[in-house]
């Protein structure tokens, strides 16, 4: 099974990367772009056919490794 996880900074947390990308886009002339936030994307191949079980595993590793829940949120998506 292929699962993706997206890890993003919580809303109130400063995102220096997004800030710089946003500024650069403005400088390049994209004046209608008002905000950019950058996050991490993971695509995970898992030997597990049960969707629920798979989700649980990914949820666990998001908590334990992929994100720092103090400043980050994450969402999980089953791809195939």
């Amino acid at each position: 099974m292929k699962i993706s996880a997206i890890v993003t900074l919580k809303e109130n947390v400063l995102d220096p990367q997004g800030k710089v990308v946003n500024q650069t886009l403005k400088n390049m002339g994209y004046s209608n772009i008002t905000e950019v936030r950058q996050g991490k994307y993971f695509e995970i191949q898992l030997n597990e056919n049960n969707k629920e079980k798979a989700k649980k595993i990914i949820d666990e590793i998001c908590k334990k490794l992929l994100s720092n829940t103090i400043i980050e949120d994450y969402t999980i998506n089953i791809k195939q």
Partner: protein, 730 residues
Amino acid sequence: MKITQQIVNKHGLNSEEYNKIIKLIGKKPNLLELGIFSAMWNEHCSYKSSKKYLKTLPTKNKKVIQGPGENAGVIDIEDEDALVFKIESHNHPSFIEPYQGAATGVGGILRDVFTMGARPIATLNSIHFGDHKHYKTKNLLSGVVSGIGGYGNCIGIPTVGGEVKFNSVYNENILVNAMAVGLVKKNKIFYSKAKGSNKPVIYVGSKTGRDGIHGASMASAEFDKNTEEKKPTVQVGDPFTEKLLLEACLELMKDDSIISIQDMGAAGLTSSSIEMASKGNLGIEINLNKIPCREKKMTPYEMMLSESQERMLLILNSGKEDNAEKIFKKWGLDFSIIGKTTDKKDLVLKFNENEVANLPISALSTEAPIYDRKWKKALLPKKTSLPQNYKSFKIIDSLKKILMSPNNSEKSWVWEQYDQTVMGDTIQKSGGDSAVIRIHGSNKGVSLTIDSSSNYCESYPLTGGKQIVAEAWRNLISVGSNPIAITNCLNFGNPEKEKIMGQFVECIQGMKEACTYLDFPVVSGNVSFYNETNKKTISPTPTIGGVGLLKNLENMMTFGLKELGSSLFLIGKTSGHLYQSEFLREVVGTKDGPPPEVNLFNERNNGFMIRDLILKKLLNSVHDISSGGMLVALSEMCIRGKIGAKIKIPNKNISSYEYLFAEDQSRYLVEVSEKNKKEVVKILEKNSVYFEIVGKTQKDCLDLEKEFNIKVEELIEINSRWFKSYFNEN
């Protein structure tokens, strides 16, 4: 909103303090005003438990240009040059979010240094973690190290020294202390004291967000189960913006636009504005609608207490605003005139045309409470008899065990993550007794070191405090420099407990004795109390950052052995003090007994002797003897120089173990060429410095007569193994 007892308590103020506030300001504070008091009166900003004792430290001599009381200390390093330096803790944030906590710790201390007009030229750090087997340690260690590197590497300031220690007392409360050093011309130092009323007050740097609100109070509260709730208060560092801020500030500092300047550190806008006004005996008026905000609908309370990073407050000479704005805009930074100085001596805050706070500056600063806390004297631990079995451990096995232990392993796993050579002036990198940085464009250098020894301080704080100052001094001597001054970061538990307060008082007493005797004043520092989690407290851990001067870099010394067939001199007396040694801890497994005493007369005498011999070019290499004792020091010299040695224990009344592993103080191992031997002996004898010749250098192997023989290659492998295997790297 009605201010209830509960709200007062949540702000870390007790009812006595709250009543004092009402008396001082003649009214009940509103929530914003209460928040401002809580920030200014907490331990971190007010030093209410520590002030009485900090005052006893020596802070002046001919070399000190600015002692404690400013953003950082400043010392004279001859010619037109001055050195600015300070150390600061970021313990709690680093425990919650190791990468960002450590990164923002570095960012904060760098701002303290460039606020004074200095270009930062180096950073150092002292980091303490729990037992390496504790489940949190690995993540904390790798997070902290990459955070320190992440910030320093990006901004382009070399990280050139530090220390890493493991001890279960830090399991739930790690220590992250960062030190920054900057270079400035003596006539271009900037201070935070405001001058003159009706001058524009300017905000520059990053925008204000809801970061770290109550961070300053958090740093002063014990951890407990509710720490979880406080978590979103962690700040994210932006070293790129800090680099821009650094360059912009230094550019503006070229002329005389700035009257005073202050970084927004702990308690952000609140403490920076109040400190500037208080020092200048002025008032300040701020229109909060002018604060550049990152988030929508921020309240005055949030703006005043936010700890967003990479921000500064300036007071400019009237008429200089436009030019200043141009500079900050060029660097892509926010610039806003947010208010003015006044002669009313109040802090006045306006928001949407209303006055939202009005407080006398003195109530927030000079009138803040000071406590004379109760404290208990520590008892000097008895010299119980050493465990019967200690001689059953083979010497070679003991040596290996010490060299392989996390605390005594070589730390390149750590320092290779730090850019150590950017700026092109790093003459001695991490790994030596002190780092050495060349003063740009000259042939002189400064030596830098950072040290702590919590085991000694835990055992007997008075001696521990003395010892750690002496050790910093010795490290600076060992590279051939003249020690000048120190900064200190005092990491302790809860000062409301008599035992902890006693540790603090007595550590300071010890530091004071050593600093005074060695003419080694304290020019800046930081206190971090409440390093406790669920009632478990850390060992008292004063961290000392020492700085020295090398007038001529040609006289710089290193500790790697240099040539075959030269003699090894052990300078200083070995009485065989094994208590509190690495040998007993790592090999035998006991922690009893007193730390080794420091004889300050010998300390100074031996140190000056070593320095003179270096200046006379009579020594090949020098290493001070510290944790692990003589045999560990010698092994390190072999490892560094890739040269062996053959030694013999002089006929003694003490056992080989005592001779080889004792941690008696004020000792050095030095390498002397055959051609200089006579001369060195003569000088040492003439000056009544105690010494013994313990052996000679040789190829490839370290030999102890009749005991063991080990290849230097093997020593290298043993000493560099631990970190790699801990992180499964090979």
